[in-house]
Subunit: 139 residues, 2 copies
């Protein structure tokens, strides 16, 4: 299949696929007219990338998994490098959790202090607090 077909099947864009190729993650062989040709294995690679990106992996971090799949393994995490990446990511996530927890604590503290200084007697959040639209940016 060609790049547009793969993009549709994988739910991504041609631009993303070409970008993955430029990063060396996937490599397509070309048909006579120069078009990229993909097979089902390539589809699996893209899916692996998407899954890992969904967990917060950078493209570089997905490389060991993609390489692992390309070297014939059944799953992307059947190789030592992938396991190490899991562990490194886990450590990152844990340290970030610690940091965010302390941030939350200091925020709660600051908020309590500020509220105690600034009573605001008529503003006890009277309306519905629909904060579900926060698209978690940096945190």
């Amino acid at each position: 299949m060609r790049i547009g077909d793969l993009a549709k099947r994988a739910g991504t864009t041609t631009r993303a696929l070409r970008f993955y190729e430029s990063r060396g993650l996937i490599t397509a062989h070309r048909s006579a007219n120069g078009y990229r040709e993909y097979n089902d294995d390539d589809f699996r690679l893209v899916k692996e990338i998407q899954t890992l990106q969904g967990i917060g992996f950078s493209l570089d971090d997905t490389r060991p998994f993609v390489d692992c799949l390309r070297s014939g393994h059944e799953t992307g995490d059947s190789c030592a490098d992938s396991i190490e990446t899991y562990q490194r990511k886990l450590a990152e996530v844990n340290s970030c959790l610690d940091r965010l927890t302390s941030v939350r604590d200091s925020l709660l503290e600051k908020l309590a202090e500020a509220l105690s200084r600034h009573p605001s007697p008529c503003e006890m959040t009277p309306r519905d607090s629909s904060a579900s639209e926060t698209e978690y940016q940096e945190f």
Copy 2:
């Protein structure tokens, strides 16, 4: 004092101070030769910015606090907008904590699965696990 003095006092750079000014956070009046002139109030503004940035606030998020100080309040969080920003940030942090927690769980799960498939009998992390240099990038 001039921009270099303020930068030194606040432990930042002239480049950062000019950037804050370009974002409309601080405004210096100019002396006869065109140099920026700052006073102790400006120093407090910079300190407020730094404190909030240390908690993970974006520059834009520090704006209510800076405006609050500039409007004469004793603390940057004496104004309603600052309180709202606190609350919004708190919601963001909490949602991010939830997301990271589920990420950690799925990572642990995937790691366990992969390890059960890939015994690796001679690699039980024999060396010291000095993962303290991970500078928490995206997480």
